[in-house]
Structures are given as C-alpha cells and as structure tokens.
C-alpha cells in the first residue's frame, strides 16, 4: 500500500505499531505512512482505535498508567522514533499539536489561550508573542472576529470560534504535524463547514492527521484515508481510491453504510 504514496515525501511513518491498555491490545500491528503537507483521515466505527492511534502521535497515553507501545512511529525529517521510551513525551508534544473533540479553551483570555504554547516554551519577548499569536489566529480564520477583544475570556466565544481558537493555539508554535480528533463532532453545520475549509487551507503549511466519524467529511477534506476496524488497519489508500474502489470487502461495507 505504500506504493500509492511513493511520489510523496513522508512526514511520518507508523511501523508495526501495537498499543495496549494493561493486557488489552487495542491497536494491532498498524502500518501507516503520513505524507508531508497532506491531510490523512482515519475512519472506522466507534471503538476501532482511530483516536487511540491519533493519541500515540503526541504520546497522550503517557499521561495514564498501564499503557504500552510497541513498534515505531518515525518522524521525518529528523528520523526519530516518537514512541521511543527514551524520548521525553514533552519533546514530542512540542513538535506535534493536537485539537480535541470538544473545544477545550482554557478559562482565560483569548490571547492567553493562543499564546500559551509560547509561554510554556519560556518565550518572553512580547512583540514576538504578539506576532505569532496574530499569525496563528489569522491562519485559523479567527483574527477578524477577535482582534478587538483579545483580552476577553475565551469562553465568551461560540463553540465554533472556540474550536478555531484551539486550532490557533496549536498552530502558534509551528507544529510539524497537527492532530485533529473529530474536531467538528460537537459543532453545528456552519461551524463545521468553516473548519473543513480551514483544514484544506492549512495543509500547505502543516501536515494534518484527522480522525473523523463523518465519512463525507473524510471524503471532503483528506488526500489519503485509512480505514480501521477492531484495532486493525484494514485498508489505506488515496481518499479517492478508498471511496470509489475499495479493495477490501470490509472497507466497502463500511463506506456503503452496511455497518458502523
């Protein structure tokens, strides 16, 4: 299946990844190439492990006990193994940003939210922080709406605006990969359309991996799609191929709505 992406530059490569909570293996021998400056969608029914896989990329599982990784996730061009026990998860998270299912702004001002990643990194120069924050808010398509109220609480924004703020917050530190975990599942259709457009615009600057429940969304925004089922990678290919000409029976059944 790697042939499909042969012409692309890889940003990351998942190799024989298995992941378990305690004794329960929830990801089984996953292989997945992530192309640079493209959108890769992870689809599959609830409980198939797509969010679990996404959270391996920024070592979120390390926050909880009895979690265990096997295999490799190589990050290019550095060529480091993200899930290596020798690598500090904080270093991984500084390279890879994440946006969660529900908008989760900090109960602080809009500006404090978008600049938080810089604060964490010990950056104090206020002109730099201001420029970066403005740029991130522009990238997230939020600048025009909030430029006059940067010091108002982030929770005064609407749900869709909050989610774009979370995207801006992740973008402010120039991540190498942006992970989106069902970013529109809690939003209304208009906000969803706004964010989908944003995802397509963003891929010129950042590599995106998106988990989605919504097949149409995967079809609309992604370049390549991976279908997962019960912790296994069933099929991976270009989005066009997965949706028009799936090679596996299970993929076809899922795409056509026979289950899931």
């Amino acid at each position: 299946m790697v042939e499909i992406l042969k012409k692309e530059i890889l940003r990351s490569d998942v190799r024989n990844l298995s992941f378990s909570y305690g004794d329960k293996k929830v990801l089984k021998n996953i292989n997945l190439p992530i192309a640079d400056n493209k959108v890769t969608a992870l689809i599959g029914p609830s409980g198939c492990g797509k969010t679990t896989l996404l959270r391996c990329f920024n070592r979120m599982h390390d926050l909880y006990k009895s979690t265990h990784y096997e295999g490799e996730i190589i990050l290019f061009p550095e060529g480091i193994n993200i899930i290596s026990a020798k690598l500090d998860p904080i270093e991984v998270r500084m390279k890879i940003g994440m946006v969660f299912q529900k908008p989760n702004p900090f109960p602080k001002s809009i500006f404090e939210n978008v600049s938080y990643g810089l604060k964490v990194r010990g950056i104090r120069k206020s002109s730099f922080i201001k420029d970066k924050s403005e740029k991130a808010l522009k990238q997230a398509g939020l600048w025009e709406e909030v430029k006059d109220r940067l010091h108002q609480p982030a929770t005064s924004l609407s749900g869709g605006q909050q989610q774009r703020l979370c995207i801006a917050r992740a973008l402010a530190t120039d991540p190498e990969i942006l992970l989106l975990d069902e970013p529109t599942s809690a939003l209304d259709p208009i906000s969803t359309a706004h964010i989908e457009k944003l995802i397509v615009d963003l891929k010129s600057t950042v590599t995106i991996v998106i988990v989605t429940h919504n097949l149409h969304q995967a079809a609309r925004v992604s370049d390549s799609t991976a279908f997962m089922y019960l912790g296994e990678m069933v099929e991976f290919g270009t989005t066009n191929q997965i949706f028009t000409n799936p090679q596996q029976k299970r993929t076809e059944n899922y795409i056509t709505g026979r289950f899931g």
Binding site: K65, R93, F100, N104, F106, P107, K108, Y116, V120, R169
Partner: protein
Amino acid sequence: MIEVSNLTIRKWIDFLFQIVGLLILFLALVTLLSLILDLSTKGLHRIDWAFMTHFPSRFPERAGILSAWVGSLLVILLTSFFVIPLGIAAGIYLEEYAPKNFFSTFIELNIVNLAGIPSITFGLMALGFFVYTLNFGQSILTAGLTLSLLVLPIIIVTTREAIRTIPQTIREAAFGLGASRWQVIQHHVLPYSSGGILTGVIIALSRAIGETAPLITIGALTFIAFLPPNPLGTDQNFYDWIFSPFTVLPIQMFNWVSRPQSEFHVNAAATGLILLLLTLVLNAVAIFIRFRFRRRIKW
C-alpha cells in the same frame, strides 16, 4: 400513552422538600443570630479601647484582652504559615503526582481518619513531642504547630476536592501544547481550583482560631500580663516571639466564664464577640483573595 396518576403527589413532595429545607435553614440562622444577639446584649457595652489594650486583671472592670487577641493573631499567623503551603502541597501531590497504589490509599485513609481525631489528642501528642521532645516549650510555636496538624486534613481534603473538579480535557489541552506537569499545575490546576482551596483554608483557620482544648493541654497560660517580645526590638532576635508563652481568646473566655463573679461573665461575652469578629475578618480577607483569583477565570 401511559396513564399518569401520581403527578399531584410528585408535585407535593417537591413542595414539601422545599418547605423542610427552608425551615432547616431558618433554624440554623436563628440559632446563630440569637447567639450573636445574646453575646451582644451581655458584652457589647464592655468593648472599648481600654478593654482591647489592657492586660487581664483580677478586677473585672480593669481587665482587658490585649494579650489574648495578640496571642490569637500570632498563633493563627504561625498556623497559616505552616498549614497552608503544607496542606495545599500535600493535596496537589496526592491528586496529581501520587501513583494509585496500596501505599497512597493507606495514606489517604489515614488523612481522613486524622480529621476525625478529637482535638485534645492532638494536644497530648504535642505536649509530648513539641513541648518535651523538641523542647519548643509552651510557646506560640508549639501552638501553631499543634493547630496546623489539627486542621491539616481539612486543607488536604478540600484541596483535592477542588482539584478534582478541573476537567481532564483542560489538562490534556495544556499537556498537548508541551507543558510539563508542574506547568500544568502552576498555570491551570492551581488557579482554577484556588476558589475551592481558599474555602478550605477559611474553614480550617476558622476552626483553628476557636480551638481551646489542645492549647490548654500544651500549657497555654490563662493569665498573661505581658506581650511576646517585639520582633523589631533592638535587644532580641527577630524570631524570639515564637518561643514566648501566650494565651488566646477562647482560653481567656473560658477562664472568665469559670469565675464566680458575674462581672467576669460580661468580659467573657465581650471576648466572644471579639473572637467572632476576628473570625469574620479572616473570612472576609480570604473571600476577597478568592474573588481576586476568580476574576480572571471565566468558565
């Protein structure tokens, strides 16, 4: 549709509960008000400048509470100094760092147990350990340490409760941006839980300021006609005052109540009012700080 016959009863039960709740609230308020009223009618006229600035005396009309309120303030100051950082740190550790295993469960269980131990037991322990073993004497230091131990569990438990109310999604957002565990605590966990933590601090200090039994046990004096050494004085060390003998408001009050002369009972009522006032002022300060903390946080 299913036939519904109990709607009237359900509404009645709702109404009944409201009435009962209101009555209980009323009862609590009336008790407190009548207590304050009783103390006021007996003691309010006794409170004046002389009462606040005189030492106790065997003549009731000349007696004052200078040493008692200074003692109370200093003891609470030391108690706060020890117990606030210790209690909050312990709460944070147990909630954010400690692994959930047999050992941490054992510690948690014992903290809860500690909160239920009669205060006089703390006094006995302090007498043996702080007064005699560590040779701190019957001092303000011993009193501060004793009361710290007594109210420590309150602060630990309320800190943990407050921390637990912070959604995990907020922590994950911060970790996801590359924050370290301490940064998550410093920038998010502590500020967002400061309201709850300060409520715990208020409860703990209010409890400490009214405690009498453990302080009598460690040998607080009931008749003190001098003040602790002035820390800014020239002929002593800055910290001499913490080794000074002391009395506190509730002990002074207890002492006067147990006198046969009714004039002393008036003094006791007046002291009670001052103690109440001191508690209210401390609470007001804490509420003000809590307000300042919360102002910048909007959920």
